[in-house]
Every structure is written in structure tokens, then in C-alpha cells.
Amino acid sequence: MIEEKDIINVDEPELTAGERLYLPQIAGGMRTTLRHMFKKKITVQYPEQKRELRTENYRGVHRLNRDEQGRVACVACFMCQTACPAHCIHIVGAESPWEDREKYPVQFDIDELRCIYCGMCEEACPVDAIELTPEYDLVGRTREEMIFDKEKLLMVFDRTKETKPRKNPKITGYSGTGCADEHTVTERGEAH
């Protein structure tokens, strides 16, 4: 139930005589547009010029980060797939071949055409393995080409790691039993 006291009635503002006559407003508008005609243009001539991205937080093509040993940092927890509102991530997990890790992705596909670049996956990832990069010039000739697999995503990381280093390079993965990962235990163990 909405209470009476919560309702705010908003009246239209009364128009002044000038506004009601309309003509002064027109003149004002015309002046504005005329002024803009002589302003500096903000167009970026795209393929020749590229825009300097002012923010490192730009949400462009994804990358799959590598840990310090160059292995894919993803632990195939499916959190990103779960969080993704566009259902564009497809992971196949398996037992990892490494000692310090339970699980890793044997297959990791992102449909970049379907993605809405919301960054939920990055947000959801417990090991900061998936990140969105400032790369925005994403083109391809076929739909298949635009489905990025694990290799391609790792390549994006190799391409962009200089300009945008991995946020948390220490994290190597979620350890399972018998392979205590100091980092996981101490830094992450604080909160359940």
C-alpha cells in the first residue's frame, strides 16, 4: 500500500509570458545551434585516429588471465556463467592437471556477439581470472569467429597485460584438500 503521505504531487511549472509566446524560446534555441556550428568538433576519425580511453575500467573484450606460471587462472567455478545475464559464457570444467588446483576449464567460450559487456562476469569471478579489457575494436566476419574460446581469450590477456596488468596476480586458484594455498587460506579465509 502506498501511503498518502508518500505521494508527492508534482505540478507542471507555470510558463512565463515569454515561454508562452514561444518566439523568444525559438530565438534562444537558434542561437544555441548557431553557436555550436562554430565550435570545435568532437568527432574522432575512427580508423585513422583512435580515442584515448580515459578509463582503465572500460568494458571491452574479455580476457582470461594467466597466473604467474602462465597457466590459465580460471578454476572453472562457473560463477561467471551463472552471473552472466546474457548467457554467453560456456565452460566445461575438469579435474586440473596441476597439484595446487582442483579444477580448471578445458573449454571456455564466450560469445562476444551475445555479450552485453556488463562486467558481471568480472565482478563474479572469485579469482579475478576473467576481466574486461579496454579493447573495443572487435570485428569478425562470421558468428563463429566471434565466439572466443580459451586460447583466444588467453591471447587477449597476452596482448593487454602490459597496458592493464592483472588486478590480483597473487591468486592462483582455489585449492582443494591436501593442497593448501597460503594465499587462499590467509587472505580469503577471513570471511565465509
Partner: protein, 402 residues
Amino acid sequence: MDWLIEQLKDQLVFSVVLSLVVFAAIMTAVAYCIYFERKISAWMQDRVGPNRVGPLGLLQPMADGAKFLLKEDIIPAFVDKPLFVLAPAFALIMGLAGFAILPWGGMVDLDGDGVVDVMCQVADPGVGLLYLLAVGGMAVYGVVVGGWANNNKFAFLAAMRATAQMLSYEIPMALVILLVVMTTGQLGLDDIARSQMGEGNLWHVCHHPVAFFIMLVTLFAETNRTPFDMAEAEQELIGGYHTEYSALKFGLFFLGEYAHMIIGSGFVIVLFLGGWHLPWVSFLQPEATSVWAMLAKMSVFATKIAAFLFLFMWVRWTLPRFRFDQLMRLSWKGLLPVCLMLFAYVTVLLYLGRQTDLMWTLGGNGVLILLVLIVAGTMGVPVSGRQGNLSTLPWEGAVRAR
């Protein structure tokens, strides 16, 4: 050369040549109008506009033209085929027909013998203004027929809107034109232009600024340009009357629209801004009849038209579209009463013989403007009314719905 001049001395030959030249010029102009429309809109929005085809994008119109020509021309199965094909042609023809009577450059003495040979005008019927009104009235057919032939309810709605709009705005327009006719006593366009030149004659805009303004407004409405582009309001009507058109037919509608703009500007210039005349410039006076003077006059005329076209574009990229009821209200409750008052006043002036007396004409205009201001300022001018509180004119009783 002499032979050529001899031939051209014949008004008929001259008219044919002139019409060809003007036609070619207009078509190019129209193409570049589209280019400039895009450029100007871009500049006003802090962009650079088309710049990829040719230097500065100057070849863009060719590319557009080629595209219009080469695209698949779709005729949907459900349209009224003959009308569907005819409508764009109609729009263009009606747009171009007006050029026949535009006075481009006054009298010309081709061979320099001091005798005026021809008139730089394709035709100068004595009733030029009536022809103009007739052709202007026909222009709506392009839209109506197009909208009907589309057999699509949105297009049809657009056509209906266009009809209503044109009918409504033709009345103030006719009244304003009548005003000019009354003060000059002429119907021929060249005569009207000429009546604004020479000793003691001023451009009509000086005597009738309000009328000029109304003429401008109606011109926007007649050419279906923003803020009166109800007929092609994309947001509400898809594309309006040209929803189903594609390729060349679509292009023809475009050409028609711009041709219409050019010709409309030409008429306003002739009626109020002295046509090719500029005061104090000797070779732009009716007495100067050399070929060079003619060319100068033509370019002045063209420049004035260009200025008008810029105004059209400027307004288009500034003002939002009217709502249809506002548009109707503006015409019937705003422009028409003002026109009638002006009309009555000019009649009185004529009776008193003061129609060329600046004090009387401007004084009257001033009083009128004051009156409008008072009515608008206190009662609210109908045009700016929102749907919720349509304020009414005093004589309609003050019913304010909340």
C-alpha cells in the same frame, strides 16, 4: 556568337534555354542541399558530417545518387501500383513547376544596343501569383497520393495530416500574399519585384514585417519542414507517406521536397525581399540591363535563396516537431486572426492612400505585435499550450482543465 545572340533574342528560345539551365542548376542544388543538410546538422551537433567521399565529402551527393539509382526498387505487393509509381513523379513535378515564373534577372539587353531584348524569366504570365497558389496547392498531391498508394495505415495517416496541414496553412499564406497584391496592385511576379525597387520604394518586408514572418511560418508548413514535418514524423508514423518507398522513388520524394523549398524561398524573396534587387548597388537596379548585370542579379537571387535554405536547415536542426493539435491551433487561432487584422488594417491604409507610408505601415505592425504580446502574455498563446491546460483565448471563456 552573334548568331547565338540573335537566336536568344527570341523570348521563346531564351526561355527554353533558361529553363534548361535553371533545371540543371536546381537539380544540382538539390543534391547539394542534401549534402549541406547533413553537414549543417553535423556542425550544429559538433560533428563533422560526411567527409569520406571526395574532398570534404563533396562527392557524397554523387554517391547518394548512385545508391538511389542502383538500389533495388521494391514495389510491395499490396500497394496501388499506378498511383504508387506516379506519386513521387508528381511530388517532383509540382515542386519544379513553380520555377517557370520565378523572375531570375529582370530585363536583359543581350546585344548591348540599349534595347531590352528578353526577360530573364521562363514565363511571365500576368496572373503569376495565381499560378503560384495553384501549383502550391497541388504540391500536397504528391504526399496524399503517395500516402494513399502505400496502402499502409501509417502512410495514410501521414497523408491525411499533410492534407489538413496544407489546407490550414494555405489560408494565412493566401491572405499574406493578398496583402502584397493589394499594396502593389500587381499579380505578375516581375512586376511585384519591380515595385520594391527604385526611388521611394522599399522592400515589402519593411512595410509588412509581420506579414513576412507569417509568410515564413506558412512556408515551413507548406514545405513540410520541421517543425511542421507532421507528414513524415518518423517516431510516430514510421516514415510517413514514403514508408513503402525505396530506391529512386524515395529519392524523387527527396528531390521534390528540396525543390519545393527552393521555390518557396524564391517566392518569399520576390514578394518581400525585392527578388534580385539590392539597394544602392547600381547594376542590381532595373535600369541595368546588360548581360553581366543579369548574371549578377541571378547570383544575388541565388544567394538569397541559399540564405533561406540555410534558415530552413538551421530551424530543422533546432526546433522539435509540433504536436498536431498545436500545429492546427497555431494556424487557425494564431495566424489566421492576425492575418485578418493585418488585412483589415491594410484595407484601411489603402483607403487612406497611406500604403507606402512607413510610419503608418510599421505603426500598424507595431500595434499588432503589441496586441499579440498582450494576448499571449496574459492569456497564453494557444501554441504553447500543453495538453493538460489548454488555455483558451479570452473570448472562448476560460476553461482550464487540470
